[in-house]
């Protein structure tokens, strides 16, 4: 058995096409990681720059002789940042498509958080590249290239009968051939994975092991598919065609069709409703009776109701409470909008099992915290941060708490705490189930036939 495997390995190594493909793969692996690291580093550098500008701005306010907290709250934007996990350099998930460094100020929150980040959308059209893409879509093609014709080729060259006459059975031979290829691909991937871990500062923790294990199972799934195709004993060409068909189904057609399907359940109009309602509420408050509107706010937030009644002139406490009141007015619409996004995430998850590529995409984006759930967590933390801002400013507006330039330092800071995401065990089960299905689909007849010694093909 070992002898056969050693021989196989030698054969593979001597094949120019195989060598070219494998070296190309390794080069692509390094290139994609480099691209991802480069993007991550730019992201961090840009955030450091933003932070520096913010500090300069804060210092300007600190140097003033006296500060009107109302103006401070109006002009001073507070930076926030959804700190990327080092994994995001490898599996970008949704991160590039989302706005994850919003600046907020004390104005109504829902008026500030739905902007979209700058993107060269034209590049999206041609597709984006990360390690995830290489592993999920290109690796299966390489596996197919290495293995789908192991039987058909040997039969065609007439080597099969010679080879199998020396071995115990066809199945032994075939399994060892497949096993050599699996080990080869696995070893290359594990080695590269370790290099990347060091390079991208990824901790050697359970997530690391889990993500790697997922990759091994995913490879296993494609090898199981190849086993199934081989068992049909087709000609080399029909094997290749069958493999390409399955690949395009898993990589292009199923995800595309699901996108169209989930697209219809995402209603951007819920978001528009938030925008329109809020602007209406906020501006109408200037035309309504100030005392009544202010009382409405105090009823909703009795913690501030001990404040003095409004005087005849403009007061910041009225201004900002009207901003907050408009947030309260749009609460329901905002919930609906959030709900439709959660629904899309749920739908995505519940349909992902249809394609192994999607399973791995979602599982890895969960580990790299680039999934929709992480984005939602960031959003919830933004909401809390806005509340902290209010708790800083409101005593100054409502209870005339003193505001000195040195108090600017005490402004709350946004610190993203990444949610403890559970390991995506579901992906393991789905992929294992896929392997099982492929193995069970192998016709019993051909298994029996493989068990026997060949009768001189």
């Amino acid at each position: 058995m070992l002898r056969i495997m050693g021989y196989e390995l030698k054969m593979l190594w001597r094949n120019n096409a195989v060598r070219t493909v494998l070296f190309g793969y390794i080069a692509a692996f390094i290139m994609t990681v480099w691209v991802g690291r480069d993007y991550l580093e730019r992201e961090l550098a840009s955030q450091r720059w933003i932070e520096k500008q913010h500090q300069a701005e804060v210092q300007k306010w600190e140097k003033k002789e006296n500060i009107d907290p109302g103006y401070l709250a109006y002009y001073l934007f507070m930076p926030t940042f959804q700190d990327p996990s080092p994994w995001s350099a490898l599996f970008s998930g949704n991160r590039k498509a989302e706005y994850n460094n919003l600046r907020v100020r004390l104005l109504a929150l829902h008026g500030q958080v739905y902007a979209s980040d700058i993107q060269n959308t034209e590049n999206n059209l041609l597709g984006s590249l990360d390690l995830g893409f290489l592993l999920i879509y290109i690796l299966p093609l390489i596996i197919g290239f290495l293995s789908v014709n192991i039987l058909a080729d040997e039969i065609q060259t007439g080597r099969w009968s010679i080879l199998s006459s020396q071995a115990l059975s066809e199945s032994h031979l075939l399994l060892s051939k497949l096993f050599v290829r699996f080990i080869l691909v696995s070893l290359i991937n594990i080695a590269l994975w370790c290099v990347v871990t060091l390079w991208a500062d990824i901790p050697w923790d359970k997530h690391w092991a889990f993500a790697l294990a997922l990759l091994q199972i995913y490879q296993g799934l494609w090898f199981a598919l190849i086993g199934l195709i081989i068992s049909w004993r087709g000609r080399p060409i029909s094997n290749s065609l069958a493999f390409v068909c399955v690949w395009s189904l898993a990589a292009i057609i199923i995800p595309g069709a699901l996108h169209l399907h989930t697209f219809s359940s995402y209603r951007s109009t819920d978001g528009l409703e938030v925008m329109i309602q809020q602007r209406q509420a906020m501006n109408d408050s200037w035309d309504k009776d100030r005392d009544t509107e202010f009382r409405r706010f105090l009823e909703a937030h009795p913690e501030w109701s001990a404040t003095q009644p409004l005087g005849p002139s403009f007061h910041w406490k009225w201004y900002y409470s009207m901003q907050q009141l408009s947030d309260i007015v749009v609460q329901d619409a905002a919930k609906r909008y959030e709900g439709s996004r959660i629904e899309v995430a749920r739908l995505t998850r519940s349909l992902a099992w249809l394609s192994p590529a999607l399973v791995l995409e979602l599982a890895w984006s969960q580990i790299s915290q680039t999934d929709l759930e992480s984005q939602m967590a960031y959003f919830r933390q933004l909401v809390n941060f806005h509340e902290a801002l209010r708790n800083f400013y409101y005593p100054k507006f409502f209870f005339d708490a003193p505001m000195q330039p040195e108090h600017v330092k005490e402004l709350p800071r946004f610190v993203y705490s990444s949610p403890e995401s559970p390991l995506p065990w579901w992906a393991v089960w789905v992929l294992l189930a896929g392997i099982l299905v492929f193995l069970m689909a192998i016709p019993l007849k051909s298994v029996v036939r493989f068990q026997k010694k060949p009768d001189g093909l």
């Binding site: 692509a28 290139m31 691209v35 730019r42 840009s46 500008q53 002009y75 930076p79 998930g93 949704n94 498509a97 989302e98 460094n101 600046r103 739905y114 902007a115 979209s116 980040d117 060269n120 959308t121 034209e122 590049n123 999206n124 059209l125 041609l126 597709g127 984006s128 590249l129 893409f133 290109i138 093609l141 290239f145 080399p236 290749s240 065609l241 390409v244 990589a251 292009i252 057609i253 595309g256 996108h259 169209l260 989930t262 697209f263 995402y266 951007s268 109009t269 978001g271 528009l272 925008m275 329109i276 209406q280 200037w286 035309d287 899309v344 590529a357 999607l358 995409e361 979602l362 929709l372």
Partner: protein
């Protein structure tokens, strides 16, 4: 002879299982996807129109208000995607669908329609264009990889040559067969497309029909180029298996891998700021040039001096117009200028990225096709920017009109407590947007057309058998 070869090739496919599996599948998929996108587009358009009407109504219904209040109330514009985006949605799903226009700020478009799992979008949103540009070549490869190498392997190629069949006849006949197959797909798809377009618009506009025809022509050329590529690879390889492997590698390289490596590389070579950094840069520049909210700002000191001089008065209280309104207008002018400059810089970065990618168009017709297809469909980034700029121009106009009202109808004393009569709001023109003409859409696409023309020329040379004759002379290589 050509026609007979073509017919023979078609008859062969007619009898094959692969054809009866793949062709109806591709055909059905394209039609279904197109119809689904069409109905989605129709719903989206009518909802956008409704929102725009609601917004305009709300604007007119405003009570008596201070003009600056109205400037903060602002307006919303809703983007209607190009009609042909149901065939090629281009960047449509990645761009926001509404822009909030208000004083002092240029907001980005909010609510992109694809804030959802990118996992589904690795190969772009599934559209007729995606299928024709990405999947159909794969179908053609699967059907035709052995078109010459099979004949060589089975020996029929030798027989054909001994019968005196000219190479050019053989090639043109075979290429025609694959073009006819593609035509079968494209004709039915575009016929349904034309009917859908007609029903979408009420009456069919000739401009859209011309674009539709152009797209049809473009895709046909694309299919033609792939047919020739398949023929060429099939001729230059010894066995059908080699042909298949080489063609699959070619497809993977041209359509899947190269475009992605290019975008990733250009984003690293020409990085652009994110929205937050972009906004901060603008704010810093505005403050540098003149901060209308700072009473001691040198720019506004100078502005004040000039204004007082112009009206021949000593202090702003003596001006016949409202000084606050003038300051607002000047601040808006400065802000607009700074924004436009930064916006242009950003677009320049995008253009640099794009031209780096365009550099590879002569090597990879797929890149040229993607580019031209989205241009003709009116759904590339340039079209979105065209809308964005129209919205910004409109924003600037209404805000300055409001500042003029502020200057002329509101008095400086007790400025904040005064209001302008509500009738004024009805006098404002509603936002109207005309999508750009075909000429505009095609501006700057000469290079893409030239690289396509080059490929067409090369294909013709190959089909004539010129390449082969030269090859044989060089290598003494028989059939």
């Amino acid at each position: 002879m050509k026609a007979r070869i073509c017919l023979h090739e078609l008859r062969m496919h007619w009898r094959s299982k692969a054809f009866w599996f793949l062709f109806p599948l591709a055909w059905l998929l394209t039609l279904l996807i197109m119809l689904a996108s069409w109905s989605e587009l129709r719903d989206f358009q009518s909802s956008q129109v409704r929102w725009q009407q609601l917004n305009n109504q709300l604007w007119e219904d405003q009570p008596d208000r201070h003009p600056h209040r109205v400037a903060h109330y602002g307006s919303l514009v809703f983007r209607n995607p190009s009609l042909l985006s149901f065939i090629d949605p281009g960047v449509d799903h990645a761009t926001g669908s509404a822009i909030f226009l208000e004083a002092h700020r240029q907001n980005s478009a909010s609510f992109t329609r694809s804030t959802q799992s990118q996992a589904f979008l690795r190969f772009g949103s599934l559209s007729a264009a995606t299928i024709i540009l990405i999947l159909w070549p794969l179908v053609l490869i699967v059907l035709g990889f052995g078109t010459v190498s099979q004949e060589r392997e089975s020996g029929t190629l030798k027989i054909l040559e001994s019968l005196g069949v000219r190479l050019s006849d053989l090639f043109i006949g075979k290429a025609l067969a694959y073009l006819v197959l593609s035509l079968g797909l494209l004709l039915s798809v575009f016929l349904v497309g034309a009917i859908s377009l007609g029903s979408l618009q009420g009456s069919v506009s000739s401009h859209e029909m011309i674009r539709l025809l152009l797209l049809f022509g473009l895709y046909l050329i694309y299919c033609g180029l792939w047919s020739v590529a398949i023929l060429a690879v099939s001729w230059f390889t010894q066995t059908p298996r080699q042909s298949l492997m080489l063609l699959l590698a070619l497809w993977l390289g041209l359509v899947v891998i190269l475009p992605r490596f290019l975008t990733a590389t250009v984003e690293s070579i020409h990085p652009y700021p994110n929205r937050t950094a972009f906004d901060i840069l603008i704010e810093q520049d505005i403050v540098r040039q003149g901060d209308s909210h700072d009473p001691n700002d040198p720019h506004f000191d100078e502005f004040k001096r000039k204004t007082l001089e112009k009206y021949g008065v000593e202090k702003v209280e003596d001006l016949p117009v409202n000084w606050n309104g003038l300051v607002m207008a000047e601040g808006e002018r400065l802000g607009g200028e700074v924004f436009n400059e930064h916006y242009k810089n950003l677009q320049d970065i995008f253009t640099r990225q794009k031209s780096l990618i365009a550099f590879f168009q002569p090597l990879n017709p797929y890149l040229a096709m993607r580019e031209l297809s989205a241009r003709i469909a009116g759904s590339n980034a340039a079209h979105f920017n065209h809308f964005e700029q129209a919205a910004e121009a409109y924003r600037y106009r209404i805000i300055q009109e409001l500042n003029a009202l502020h200057t002329e109808q509101i008095h400086l004393k007790d400025d904040r407590t005064q209001k302008v009569r509500r009738d004024e709001w009805k006098r404002f023109e509603a936002f109207s947007y005309e999508s750009p003409s075909l000429d505009w859409s095609l501006q700057g696409s000469l290079a893409s057309f030239i690289s396509l023309a080059l490929w067409i020329l090369l294909s013709i040379i190959f089909l004539n058998g010129l390449v082969i004759r030269w090859w044989r002379n060089v290598t003494n290589h028989g059939l």
